[in-house]
């Protein structure tokens, strides 16, 4: 046991060094993430004279909150917000229901070729949206659904990731409880709502948050579908603001104000629910 002494000493010294390194990394991360966000926020409140100047101004000489009213009036910002809420809300609710139902069917029901059905559903994760976009665009245009909410919403309904997530969770539920409920003669709806879902809280929240964030940020499809401001979502509307404020030199103050307003809702949701979102993303990765 002679060698243990010096080794634990060097072990402790190294531990201390790694801890110090950890704090250095933390500071670097805060700078790298925080400074750009601070810069965007500050610019959104700057007067033109403080924006178009060198060296850069990190604390405005005069504040211009008017940038925000400018950004929300040159483009119909509140319409974009409403559209985003509609699209995200409807798509998320439908996806959630379809994901839970599919997972329930795949785990608790008898059906020939069930595993093949499951494989077909999750294989959709491997097909990038960008490859399906041309044909879907033509299909929706044929239906006369361009510039409509159903045109943006319906093609986004299919759910692969959520089915995978919920199915994995349902498989981990204790079989005895399910059987006991069945023996009591519970029908499928009772079994789902009274037994299965009450044991699935965290996974359901994880599924819901991941879906909300994904749909809120969806860009290419609504960008192609919405030519008019009537149905354009926030990220698409931001592009519109960027284009209108770009005669020769971009009018960065209002554009940054619009950017901040676009980022804010999802950041608030994230700060409230991040734990669940992280759980949702990692449960697919770590359990394998």
């Amino acid at each position: 046991m002679k060698h243990v002494g010096p080794q634990t000493l060097s072990y402790r010294r190294r531990e201390r060094a790694v801890t110090a390194l950890g704090y250095v990394a933390m500071v670097c991360v805060l700078i790298i993430v925080g400074v750009p966000l601070f810069w965007i926020l500050i610019t959104s409140l700057k007067d033109r004279s403080d924006i178009y100047t060198q060296p850069a101004v990190y604390w405005p000489h005069s504040w211009r909150p008017e940038n925000y009213s400018h950004a929300t009036t040159t483009v119909p910002f509140w319409t974009f917000l409403r559209n985003s809420l509609i699209v995200t809300g409807v798509v998320s609710v439908v996806k959630f229901a379809l994901g839970v139902f599919s997972a329930y069917g795949l785990v608790f029901l008898r059906f020939p070729g069930k595993n093949i059905v499951f494989l077909v559903i999750i294989a959709a994760l491997m097909v990038p949206n960008q490859i399906t976009v041309i044909s879907n665009y033509a299909f929706i245009a044929q239906l006369g659904w361009r510039n409509t909410f159903q045109g943006i919403i319906v093609p986004l309904f299919g759910v692969a990731f959520g089915t995978f997530l919920m199915r994995n969770h349902f498989l981990s539920l204790p079989a005895e409880v399910i059987e006991a409920a069945r023996m009591d003669g519970a029908n499928w709806w009772r079994l789902l709502t009274r037994v299965v879902l009450p044991m699935s809280g965290p996974t359901m929240v994880a599924f819901a948050v991941v879906t909300l964030v994904t749909e809120w940020n969806e860009y290419l499809w609504p960008f192609l579908m919405a030519d008019s401001a009537d149905v354009a979502t926030l990220p698409v509307g931001l592009t519109l603001l960027q284009n209108t404020e770009n005669p020769s030199v971009t009018n960065w103050g209002p554009v940054m104000a619009g950017t901040v307003l676009t980022m804010l809702p999802i950041l608030i949701v994230f700060l409230a629910l991040q734990r669940h979102m992280i759980k949702g993303l990692t449960s697919g990765a770590v359990k394998g």
Partner: protein
């Protein structure tokens, strides 16, 4: 893939109830995926052999003309090059940095949770918003980056808007900034499942830090690394929002055009949906081959 264990009473009669309910619960989702994922995937391959103009109802078959044109056009290789640089940088840098940060922060540190949220926060922000924000951050005259570089004594600040190489650097860095938190969070979760006693045993045996890292830690993280390499690759190959907002594929026409952006540009701006479908098909085949190679490499490593 785990086979689903039977969660149904073995001797239960009346399976038709189950069948009917399965159809009601699962088939709508299956139908939606078929109509909006698999149908367009197949249709895209068909369109790649036509001269279809997206505004025109008629599509004439042109055989392999689009593929031959793609092979012969100079800009194809420029676009493939951009895609490879962007994707490889995104995958390698975000995974390496994500792992390094996860290892450094996988201990009791004061304020660790705040930093964890901070790294992850950009991941949830819309790519379009981040693109607009970083366009200004990289502004060659009034942006944050040029100001910091000037203060550090760099006189020749690159023109991120005009110089194609720097523009590609700009969009790649922006994408990594946005997505670093994903690899970080997943590695952090994986580290919690690592068997510490193996690392300690290796330490007792006098293994160096590097040996412990490569021989003990990395093999345990293998499934996670595999999962990340596929998801990060898939995600970064699909980036459209950041590029569309920041550079529109430019400067000089295709300075930052990736294959996905080219699909959009050819189909919806040049009205050559047939050619766009060709690029999309090539991209899909490459993606499939790369994924198969990843799976193969993974299998071999496990044996």
């Amino acid at each position: 893939m785990r086979k689903s264990p039977e969660r149904v009473l073995p001797g239960r009669s009346r399976p038709w109830q189950d069948y009917a309910l399965f159809v009601v619960l699962v088939v709508p989702n299956l139908a939606l995926l078929t109509v909006f994922v698999y149908r367009p995937l197949a249709d895209n391959i068909r369109l790649s052999f036509t001269d279809w103009n997206i505004a025109d109802p008629v599509a004439n078959s042109v055989g392999f003309d689009n593929y031959i044109e793609w092979w012969q056009r100079d800009d194809s290789w420029k676009v493939v090059g951009n895609t490879v640089i962007f994707t490889v940088a995104a995958v390698v840098v975000s995974m390496a940095l994500g792992l390094a940060l996860a290892m450094l922060l996988d201990r009791k540190l004061f304020g660790r949770n705040v930093v964890r949220s901070a790294i992850f926060a950009p991941f949830v922000i819309s790519g379009a918003a981040i693109g607009v924000a970083f366009q200004f951050i990289f502004d060659p005259s009034f942006g944050l980056v040029q100001d910091v570089l000037h203060r550090l004594g760099v006189d020749n600040v690159p023109d991120f808007y005009q110089d194609p190489e720097w523009a590609l650097f700009m969009v790649t860095l922006t994408y990594i900034w946005k997505n670093l938190g994903y690899a970080f969070v997943i590695y952090l979760a994986a580290l919690q499942g690592v068997r510490a006693e193996l690392l300690e045993a290796a330490e007792m045996d006098g293994a160096s830090s590097w040996t412990r890292f490569t021989r003990v830690l990395l093999p345990q993280l293998r499934p996670t690394t595999f999962f990340l390499s596929i998801t990060v690759l898939l995600n970064s190959l699909q980036v459209f929002d950041i590029i569309n907002v920041m550079t529109r594929g430019g400067p000089l026409g295709n300075g930052t055009t990736t294959m996905v952006f080219q699909v959009y540009e050819e189909s919806f701006r040049n009205f050559r949906a047939g050619y766009g479908a060709t690029v999309a098909t090539i991209m899909f085949v490459v993606l499939l081959v790369v994924t198969l190679i990843q799976v193969r490499v993974m299998d071999r490593g496990e044996r």
